[in-house]
Symmetry: C2
Subunit: 345 residues, 2 copies
């Protein structure tokens, strides 16, 4: 049962950028997308000193932020696996499964909001979620600060990262530090970035054809901007609801955040950057095949069937979104001492 409002939105979403000629394709792309910068963006109110970035990296990798001391941010947002965990749902505290597929942390700083339902406005807010979520890292809120205060090396690191604060070891500051580290996890220099900067040869013929299809068919109506997605929300199944496997009835997406009927089954449009590295796909993580995922999107969001050849070309374009993976030196974590709180059973 579609409402007129939804239909109007649908029309605005899928209106293809009709008639892009090959010679103006680059200009059209430059109008819709932006390259990833070489340097991490600044976060408002959270300046990225080297000490703060290093602290954030330590926290990102530290399993002692979880109740069991076995799960870190990196467990589900593995920096060696393009910021994901290559699983449908992540395994959390006591082997519980998360509710949705773990989105990549790479380039997440460029998203309009965080989580599939956008319930956190930025990385800083997001970072507070999994630590205290009982099915993820499951730390009681006080545990995180007690833990950090119980590790002398962290007390020193927080002082260096938040100079002038009387009592810098707080969950809020941990979130800030994690956010500035995560903001460094960007993947510049993808072939598509070089193309956007004027190098037409950065995309091969298939990738160029794929880009044209991506824009002509309307994919770029949602997947645009610097992150080729991540900038807005959209109902999953605008044209045709996918099956319950991909869109289970009990997860109404953004509706849980806004309690607005129009937000039922609405999700944040995910970034497509590094998409070839971040299977499985969709909020359910039920699609392991990028070509199949393209087909699902075409039918459910655009109502436009794609031929095998078109899907192949679109996938070729999507592969051109793989950028330089960040080079990360594993942090030496400050050691626990005899009085440090221990893992919780």
């Amino acid at each position: 049962m579609r409402t007129p409002a939804l239909l109007a939105m649908l029309a605005s979403l899928v209106a293809p950028a009709a008639g892009i000629a090959a010679d103006s394709l680059m200009q059209a792309a430059q109008a819709q997308f932006k390259p990833i910068p070489a340097q991490p963006p600044a976060l408002p109110g959270n300046p990225a000193s080297p000490a703060r970035v290093e602290l954030g990296k330590m926290l990102f990798f530290d399993p002692r932020l979880s109740a069991s001391h076995t799960i870190s941010c990196n467990s589900c947002h593995n920096v060696g696996l393009a910021g994901v965990d290559v699983a449908e749902k992540s395994i959390g505290h006591k082997w519980q499964k998360g509710g949705r597929n773990s989105p990549t942390v790479f380039n997440a700083v460029f998203n309009t909001a965080q989580f599939w339902d956008g319930r956190a406005k930025d990385l800083e807010e997001q970072a507070g979620g999994p630590m205290v979520n009982p099915i993820e890292m499951a730390s009681p809120k006080e545990h995180v600060t007690e833990q950090l205060r119980g590790i002398p090396g962290y007390v020193a690191a927080f002082k260096a990262a938040f100079p002038g604060e009387a009592s810098p070891v707080t969950l809020a500051n941990a979130q800030k530090a994690i956010a500035v580290f995560e903001a460094t996890l960007i993947t510049p220099n993808a072939p598509f970035d070089r193309y956007l900067k004027g190098d037409a040869a950065a995309l091969n013929a298939n990738q160029t054809a794929g880009l044209k299809l991506f824009m002509d068919k309307g994919c770029a109506a949602c997947h645009n901007g610097i992150n080729v997605g991540g900038g807005r929300y959209a109902p999953f199944g605008i044209v045709e609801k996918p099956g319950a496997e991909l869109l289970p009835a009990d997860d109404k997406g953004r509706f849980a955040v806004t309690k607005t009927a129009g937000d039922e089954y609405v999700f944040k449009v995910p970034t497509l950057r590094n998409i070839e590295l971040t299977a499985p796909y969709f909020h359910t993580g039920r699609s392991w095949d990028l070509r199949q995922a393209v087909g699902v999107m075409a039918s459910s969001q655009l109502g436009l069937p794609v031929t095998d050849d078109e899907a192949r070309k679109i996938v070729a374009f999507l592969e051109a979104l793989t950028g330089d993976q960040p080079k990360i030196v594993y942090p030496v974590l400050p050691p626990s001492v005899a009085t440090t709180p221990r893992p919780q059973p």
Copy 2:
């Protein structure tokens, strides 16, 4: 009930290096210990090419070697936490707990054998254990090879690491590659290493006094050599059996390997290198306090009570065993593709 043979062994173990004068302490130490070299040692029959070390590093960090795709070697031998997981027992597949405390992988290449009971003769043999152990990574043997063969980047990486082999993607080669990477995880340049190389000022007064106590009281009878341990086996509780919390009756240690009555409650003497970073202690992981652990050793192994002051000095010496932690760039892992085997439920 102690047998005469055990008593004789005990006598040989605890005979203190009586009468070491302060001025000859360095020579006495140089006779019993060796510094960690700056470069990783070569492994017999397993040459460490850059390609093989890099492959080993990827495998060490890859959770896809576990059935669930969530547990990697680094989960329990965390390179940011001195090669351990700061837990009594590690959490494995489906939240099962391991049987013994995870020993550090750092400097493990210098141990005489691997595991607490020495059941693997070297790192290569050890690396095959946890991957297929049903309470650890829980991969069926075939799964490991199927998984690796299903990831194109690994096929290429194995070819580069094992040139000239017709079918290089095997579990045996994975173990070889992991072993050469692990052999790089050494921690040279500890204060005690500099002392052994002739710099008397590398140890402060307390540490020097601690070293003297360590040798005079007989600790060095077992904890000697390059790893200050790791070179032999010893019964836990030679003089006085510790309580069941530290020495539970159902874990007979090396007896399970050799089926020899004399090996009941015998364990490999652990390395003391980086010991301040690798709490909790003992095969049970039940002691979180290094000073307490020193006291347990003194009473159970030596029958010599130590005063608080002596324990403090011995701990100061043990802290001089902390070396330079290895600098590791997190590997970019080869991506899964649509046909790659998926996590097992």
